[in-house]
């Protein structure tokens, strides 16, 4: 079998150093700092106003005609970066494209004033339409539209590593053959929430930041976007694409240590660095450059320096620099921006500088000077270590470098166990009061769901959690308080709980989950998306065991404004519900060896409702099967497609009817299906969700002792 290698054939960048990849990279290598006083808004008296702001961003020039009002800066940056990447890659027309973006605050800047205003109840329908840019997933639709449509989309939030994890998701789609091209990246715009929050945490440097320097005093926030075009080697060769670099390796994992502090020894970080190298078939000595996370905070840089020294040794020839001194910390975009810079470093043979660094705290790392320099590189790493210890390392090889000897193996996925928490659940009662003291309902549901699953053994386990909105009510209370009492009295301990990935991070720390941990956000289909991403990670061998689930906690703003506004079309909503569902997934042979399998994930399908179920590959029902259909979000058109299929006569469970509509319903459906199969009387369960013209289907098969 031919090695499936992932090519990077285009990059697009919007940053404080410029609104294109060439402009950004040129300024980066020259040592220009994009850091300066915040101009976008007045944050009041805060510790630091030094930020990496994208000046002169014209949303009007980027938004399609008639959409300006509802287009956020984050979306504009994502679209501009996507257009540049697509043009650089010479993406063919009508290609099968996936879009995956990391982010943390979406359209927060444009909507935070409106949502935190006391007269929310009086919000006119006309004004509430301007809130469509609020959720993280909003950028996906904008980017998809800008490139002529997407077959599959995903929004990833893992605090500050989402933009890197997006590339791992992209690789999974390509390896699975789901699409031929993926636009993978991240976008985050500056907003009051993050400026007030990071300042309240005392994490910001009042001066331009100095990653890895002995005198460093914190980070500077930034904003920007990056999009990379990824494709399979075979596609790139067949169409004669210019390959900039290869994404040969990656590792995703969590520290399960603390919601804001990194684990000081750097042990987990060095493990992930090694794992990424191993997957890429690289030795440490092959790596010419590491684009470090390097935020400029005391704790991150000390931890990261230890990890790098552990992997590369103290007399290493590997250059290390952090681009955050020049761009600021762009949060959910950072992993993608730095991946794009790493790719350009390989493609152009140029090593980015260590601006701001005068005296390193730890000797032994080979830091660059105040300006970059030319050097032919064989391979390079880009690492991202997010709040809550959610981490990702990407390994790129230069275009000229031969493929690694390892082959991509597609692994089968099993469901080990399932858990359901409905509206009557009191998740906080299942948790240790002291260790869960700051948890909101979303975090409590996530931690309780994980704790409820039966988990024999203590193997490394991850968590992929669907959260459509994050905690909007708590976020707006934080902002209202800042407005009423001023930035000095912003509650610092609240802030880490406001990022949409907080329930995933909290559950990871609570339950000691050290596998891949992140949140996905796909509005009505957040549960299905989390399940799909978790299956992908196991199938591509990035993880062995992952809890996949989704939470839809009670939230007055979601209930009154965002939920109804963003409800899927063609779905006649019953009343609104709340709840959560979880399944523990495992690589099939590992689950068998552990003696615990409820079901196998036999197939995952997605398609257009108008074309019908079989068109997307859903198998015809066989007469011998004892089967059920479980419906999550079921638009009228999905019911019609079901009636037109061979599955029409199979007894079905309609979960929206039972639980009301909520954004975690897909996860409830999948957990219900696994429980049904676990009872041993059925052979097959087909889980269906569909709205807005498209659907997803998952076919689960009972795994008996005879298998």
């Amino acid at each position: 079998m031919r090695v499936r290698r992932i090519a990077v054939s285009g990059v697009g960048l919007v940053s404080a150093l410029g609104q294109s990849a060439p402009e950004t990279f040129r300024a980066l290598i020259s040592g220009v700092r994009g850091i300066g006083p915040l101009q976008l808004f007045d944050p009041g008296e805060v510790r630091s106003r030094q930020v990496g702001e994208v000046r002169g961003l014209s949303v009007a020039d980027i938004a399609p005609p008639g959409q300006l009002e509802q287009f956020s800066r984050t979306e504009a940056m994502a679209v501009a970066a996507a257009r540049e990447a697509v043009s650089m890659a010479s993406l063919p027309a009508r290609a099968r494209v996936g879009v995956v973006l990391g982010g943390t605050t979406g359209g927060m800047f444009e909507t935070e004033g409106m949502l935190s205003s006391p007269d929310l109840a009086q919000l006119a329908p006309v004004r509430s339409r301007d809130l469509v840019s609020y959720p993280l997933s909003a950028s996906l639709a904008r980017v998809a539209e800008a490139v002529g449509g997407a077959t599959i989309t995903r929004s990833i939030c893992s605090a500050c590593s989402g933009g890197a994890i997006a590339l791992v998701q992209a690789a999974a789609w390509l390896e699975r053959g789901e699409v031929d091209f993926v636009l993978a990246g991240g976008a985050d715009g500056l907003c009051r929430l993050t400026v007030l929050g990071f300042n309240a945490l005392g994490a910001t440097d009042p001066e331009p930041c100095r990653p890895f320097d002995r005198t460093r005093a914190g980070l500077n926030l930034g904003e920007g976007a990056a999009v990379l075009v990824l494709e399979r080697e075979a596609t790139a060769l067949a169409r004669g694409a210019d390959v900039l670099a290869w994404l040969d390796g990656y590792a995703v994992g969590a520290e399960a240590h603390h919601i804001t502090h990194p684990e000081p020894s750097g042990a987990r970080a060095s493990q992930l660095l090694r794992r990424a190298l191993e997957r890429a078939g690289l030795a440490a000595v092959d790596v010419g450059y590491v684009n470090a996370h390097g935020t400029g905070t005391q704790q991150n840089d000390a931890m990261e320096a230890r990890a790098l020294l552990d992997v590369f040794g103290s007399d290493s020839r590997t250059w290390v620099s952090s681009s955050k001194a020049q761009l600021g910390h762009t949060l959910g975009a950072a992993g993608a921006i730095e991946a794009a810079l790493t790719v350009l470093a390989l493609a152009r043979g140029a090593v980015p500088p260590s601006v701001g660094l005068v005296e390193p705290e730890l000797s032994g790392l080979r830091h660059v000077g105040g300006q970059g320099h030319s050097e032919r590189l064989e391979a390079a790493l880009s690492s991202s270590f997010g709040f809550g210890g959610m981490s990702c390392v990407l390994a790129f090889s230069a275009q000229h470098r031969p493929a690694p000897a390892t082959e991509a193996v597609h692994r089968r996925v099993a469901v080990v166990s399932a858990a359901l928490l409905d509206a009557r659940a009191e998740p906080e009662k299942l948790l240790d009061a002291e260790r869960s003291r700051r948890f909101d309902q979303g975090s409590a549901l996530a931690a309780a769901g994980v704790a409820t699953l039966s988990q024999p053994g203590s193997a490394e386990t991850g968590l992929v959690l669907g959260t459509a909105f994050g905690n909007v009510e708590r976020t707006m209370a934080f902002l209202s308080r800042a407005r009423e009492r001023g930035p000095r009295l912003v509650p610092p301990a609240e802030f880490p709980h406001l990022v949409p990935s907080a329930p995933a991070g909290n559950a990871s720390v609570y339950a000691g989950l050290t596998g891949p941990v992140f949140a996905v956000s796909e509005l009505a289909q957040s549960g299905e998306a989390a399940f799909a991403s978790a299956c992908d990670l196991i199938a591509q061998g990035v993880a062995t065991r992952i809890v996949a689930g989704a939470v839809a906690p009670r939230d007055a703003i979601v209930e009154r404004v965002l939920g109804p506004l963003l409800e899927p079309a063609g779905f006649h909503a019953t009343e609104r519900g709340e709840g959560a569902g979880f399944v523990l997934l495992s690589e099939l042979s590992a689950a068998r060896a552990a003696g615990s399998v409820a079901a196998e994930v036999l197939g995952r399908y997605a398609g257009e409702l108008a074309l019908g179920l079989s068109c997307a590959g859903v198998p015809e029902l066989e007469p011998s099967w004892r089967a059920r259909v479980v419906l999550g979000i079921a638009a009228l058109k999905l019911r019609e497609a079901l009636e037109a299929s061979s599955w029409r006569a199979v007894p079905r469970l309609d979960l929206a009817g039972q639980h009301g509509y909520h954004e975690a319903l897909g996860a409830v459906a999948l957990a219900t299906a696994a429980q049904l199969l676990g009872q041993g009387e059925l052979d097959r369960v087909l889980v269906l969700s569909g709205a807005n013209g498209s659907f997803t289907a998952t076919l689960l098969r009972r795994v008996g002792t005879e298998d």
Binding site: H261, A433, R437, R488, L489
Partner: protein, 97 residues
Amino acid sequence: MSLGTSELKRRIKLALIEELDLRGKTEADIDEAAPLFGDGLGLDSLDALQLAMAIEERFGVSVPEGEAGRAVFASVNAIAEFLVRSSGASQSAPEAG
């Protein structure tokens, strides 16, 4: 109006319970001499930031950053001493409530 020391300590403990989400704990559960961080109440540096903000809000006194701040947060007694030492500490701040 001057606050008695025991009333001051009661208010400090109330601030701890409310601001640090010490669910299920009452004022009587908090030992005034015991360390707040590490082994005692098991608080961390995120709690310290929250507590500094709360003391500024409730008592109108700003807690210094770094080592000096750490000494202030040694125990309930240490916080009380710090508030008494700081001018106006034995009088509650105008907006405190």
